[in-house]
């Protein structure tokens, strides 16, 4: 099956595209909506918002989550905030500026039309969330408070203490709960979607899920399927993602014909707590809002690195971000902050017991603002840091180091958020569309909610309107039998290995390969090494992984084993994409391609395109087919990002 990439960008001036497109699309009349069934997979911001909105509109919605409750999806862990071009502080923000900042922050590797729509819709999101009762921070006059975040030179970030993701997700979850109560949405909890079902006509028509408690199989059908299943950051094993975050549904869709775009664009977040030992299970993010008031430094002399921070005099400290980037200082974008921390640690200037971190120091802010103000701004983060490390950050500087956090790559979608499989839509982090090669802080929540509340509910109607009166493919159809057979085969194969090493053992091994060779800095030799090591590890996995118990019960090892099996394949595509992209851009830094100052060197002449990979067979490095969607810039001129 050959795919053709048509981004379907509407014609007309950039600022009018979305408005015109909404008018040009076909509608589904209110009385016809109940005749359509839609399957939504995932209940994070993008999934819960979409399911709730589609339910309100009158569609029959079936929503799947592997959690016990929709409210536990990992959007809940986002701390810092959500961007919107409201310009309440009157500091010069506008839709145009948010658009420009986002496209520049993404290193000119995203679509103008998508990003502009995101900036437009950001205004509606805040209105919607406030009406739902999201308790955003307020000024004493009762109006919404804003702060500057992640390198933005305007204050456009709305926040709810350090729990913005939680509060936004609770808003979307509550809207979803109202629809479940009203009967428009059916909830399937503790269900892992394992296959996307594609009908004989090539259109997505349902899913196969595994009930995590009973091991039973569930078949559900719909006129369209929406994947809102998040990113693949757990391919690194150690990441800030939740333990169960996975690529399975997206990867199974890829194997059924959905192109996977830009898998090498992964974001390594600069402010995480460094690992303390080899058996650590995950990394904890400290919101980058901390960089507003914290100063990042390492000792100038390697000999000082083992000393307590307080014993190192001001003159012997290297505030390296302030030194190298005087205009942005500690607020440079995430990819730049991360790479510089790596450079410092790699050159022997790391601090902490394992010499694997850099300092984030609040002493000056505490002097300037007082401990009370610092506590009000960051109290819960400081408490969290102390619980994890046993150190009091009011007295000694925090230690931070970058960790896998977010993935800009994902399933390829057109302007309507439709993948290369007709009827299969992808929203939120699971798609690739809006962040280019690097995502700005406080933009993930914005994109998840933009897709879920405002974009998908409009564009999916344009698709459904062409299928009015068509019945859903019954779940007894042979296409469902075949998809279930694929899943059953995988489950029985993995259960029958009865090998010697646990799933976690293999996930850790995979993570090491991907982190070492496809992490913050990549090079040809390392990527080639990864491309030989990953298939070898995968082969060993299928011969040696040990999953005890039965598939017909609550079996958490089997749950993990199926997820890791898909990461083993997706990791190879990630490395393949990273090897082919002979340039540095955003989160993808190829050591061969840098400026004399060590900054990312893009190659717009050869790589100004979206790399969309089509599944071609089990030998991922050889069989996968590359398709290119050229990026056309009509209003902005790509320039080298400079934050000096």
């Amino acid at each position: 099956m050959a795919i053709t990439l048509d981004a379907k960008i509407p014609a007309g001036p950039l600022a009018d595209k979305w408005t015109n497109h909404k008018f040009d699309m076909k509608l589904v009349a209110p009385h016809n909506r109940r005749r359509f069934e839609i399957v939504v997979v995932g209940t994070g911001l993008a999934g819960a918002a979409a399911a709730a909105t589609l339910g309100e509109l009158g569609y029959k919605v079936k929503v799947f989550t592997f959690h016990d409750s929709p409210r536990r999806a990992h959007s809940i862990a986002a701390q810092g905030g959500i961007n919107a071009a409201k310009n309440y502080p009157n500091d010069g923000d506008s839709v145009q500026r948010l658009f420009y900042d986002t496209i520049k922050g993404g290193d000119f590797r995203s679509r103008e039309a998508n990003v502009h729509r995101l900036a437009e819709v950001s205004l509606n999101i805040i209105d919607q969330c406030v009406a739902q009762g999201v308790p955003f921070a307020r000024e004493y006059g009762g109006r919404l408070d804003n702060r500057s975040f992640g390198g933005a030179q305007v204050s456009r970030t709305f926040y709810a203490r350090g729990q913005t993701g939680q509060q936004l997700l609770l808003g979307a979850y509550q809207a979803l709960a109202a629809q479940i109560h009203a009967g428009t949405v059916t909830l399937y909890n503790r269900m892992d979607v394992q296959e996307i079902v594609v009908g004989d006509d090539g259109h997505a028509c349902g899913v196969i899920a595994r009930d995590l408690i009973s091991g039973e199989t569930i078949r559900e059908n719909g006129h369209a399927v929406v994947l809102a299943t998040g990113g693949y950051g757990n391919v690194y094993y150690l990441s800030t993602n939740a333990k169960a975050s996975n690529v399975t549904a997206a990867w199974r869709a890829h194997r059924k014909g959905a192109a996977f775009a830009n898998p090498c664009y992964t974001q390594i977040h600069p402010t995480c707590i460094p690992p303390s030992d080899e058996f650590q299970s995950k990394l904890t993010l400290m919101s980058e809002s901390l960089r507003n008031d914290g100063r990042i430094w390492v000792p100038l002399n390697i000999d000082d690195c083992g000393k307590p921070a307080g014993d190192i005099p001001e003159a012997a400290r290297d505030y390296y971000l302030e030194r190298k980037y005087p205009a942005f200082g500690n607020l440079v974008p995430r990819d730049i902050a991360s790479r510089n921390a790596k450079t410092m640690v790699d050159s022997g200037h790391g601090v902490g017991p394992l010499r694997n971190g850099v300092y984030l120091d609040f002493a000056e802010s505490i002097d300037r603002l007082g401990e009370d103000v610092v506590r009000e701004r960051y109290g819960n983060l400081f408490d969290m840091y102390e619980r994890i490390t046993g150190e009091n950050p009011y007295q000694v500087p925090m230690r931070i180091y970058p960790a896998s956090h977010y993935t800009m790559g994902g399933l390829w979608v057109d302007y309507d958020l439709q993948s290369t499989v007709p009827g299969l839509f992808v929203t939120g982090e699971a798609n690739f569309s809006d962040h280019g090669a690097n995502r700005l802080g406080a933009s993930a929540l914005m994109q998840g909610l933009a897709d879920g509340y405002f974009v998908l509910p409009s564009t999916i109607a344009g698709y459904l309107a062409n299928h009015l009166g068509e019945p859903v493919v019954p779940t007894t159809d042979p296409v469902f039998d075949r998809a279930q057979a694929d899943m059953d085969d995988r489950v029985s194969r993995i259960m029958s290995v009865k090998g010697t090493h646990s799933v976690d053992h293999y996930h850790r091994e995979l993570g090491k390969i991907v982190w070492d060779h496809c992490g913050m800095a990549r090079n040809k030799a390392g990527l080639e090494k990864a491309l030989s090591e990953i298939p070898a590890l995968r082969e060993q996995y299928w011969k040696d992984v040990k999953v005890l118990g039965s598939a017909a019960t609550y079996n958490q090892s089997l749950e993990k084993a199926l997820r890791v099996a898909d990461f083993m394949e997706q990791a190879e595509l990630l490395a393949r994409d990273a090897l082919h992209r002979e340039e540095s851009c955003g989160g993808h830094f190829r050591e061969e391609h840098q400026t004399p100052e060590g900054e990312a060197l893009r190659d717009d002449e050869h790589f100004s395109y979206v790399a969309a990979w089509e599944y071609g067979g089990p030998d991922i490095a050889k069989d996968t087919v590359l398709h290119k969607e050229p990026l056309v810039f009509e209003t902005v001129t790509p320039s080298q990002r400079s934050y000096k």
């Binding site: 959690h67 536990r72 307020r138 904890t284 405002f454």
Partner: protein
């Protein structure tokens, strides 16, 4: 630098909701900078190596925000550290040679699924009954149109910080869910946006809660166990709103009976 702790664990094992269940004892050695759940990971790795069924427990974000994890540790919901979910509890709170008893959150409203994992779906039913503000997407007015006094927004946020873990229920001698329900309700009842549905919400949430959980007799254990340190003041506010709702929800004079 980290120390190694040698521990004896007494862990509740139960195959399913209908199994009687029993304690099993395990010994383990773990670095004191490991988290409590990482300690259980090590124990599970050892069990798997030994061909024994690993201990099932719920967890996900391991950052204290998703509310998935929850264990009774030596009889305390989420263990000995105040204001801390199980995943954020670290082993440095324990001493070398300690014996630790680990049980699931026990309550009639939380049937056990397996070992330490319980079914907390009753919480979702309470939210579905009325724990929301009905505002269809697109129907919202400009966000700054309605000022919300800072202290009101802050109090609503204090309530909204609830992570829905169920520690309050597990800690309560009556297995009451009043702290959870009141936090969810008062988050919305405090805000101007939540007024239109305030009385309907209050009545529906309380009555749904009572289908699953016991009654509150003001022990205050919930507030002590809460990883987000939510105040039982919200329970008093809920009780007041529930009482008022019984009057407010009567048919208005002149109002027709609706179906």
């Amino acid at each position: 630098m980290s120390k190694t702790l040698n521990l004896t664990l007494k862990v509740w094992r139960q195959d399913g909701p209908d199994d009687a269940g029993h304690f099993e004892e395990y010994t383990t050695s773990v670095a004191d900078d490991a988290s409590f759940l990482e300690m259980l990971d090590y124990v599970n790795e050892a069990l798997i190596a030994d061909d024994k069924d690993p201990i099932a427990f719920d967890h996900d974000c391991r950052e204290g925000i998703c509310g998935s994890c929850g264990l009774m540790i030596d009889g305390q919901a989420h263990g000995p550290q105040r204001g801390t979910a199980t995943c954020q509890l670290h082993m440095r709170k324990f001493a070398d040679g300690d014996h630790i008893t680990i049980e699931p959150f026990r309550a009639g409203g939380f049937p056990i699924i397996k070992d330490l994992a319980v079914n907390r779906a009753a919480f979702d039913r309470i939210i579905e009954a009325g724990g929301y503000i009905s505002v269809d997407t697109g129907a919202a007015p400009e966000a700054n149109l309605t000022p919300v006094p800072k202290d009101v927004a802050d109090a609503a946020m204090d309530a909204a910080a609830c992570i829905g873990c169920g520690a309050c229920v597990a800690a309560c001698p009556n297995s009451a869910a009043n702290l959870f329900t009141s936090a969810k309700m008062q988050h919305l009842n405090l805000l101007p946006q939540g007024q239109a549905e305030r009385w309907r919400r209050s009545e529906a949430m309380v009555e749904t809660m009572e289908q699953f959980f016991g009654s509150c007799t003001n022990h205050g254990e919930c507030q002590e166990a809460c990883p987000k340190e939510i105040s039982i003041d919200f329970i008093a506010m809920m009780n007041r709103d529930y009482l008022k709702s019984k009057f407010a929800n009567r048919r208005r004079s002149g109002q027709r009976k609706s179906g």
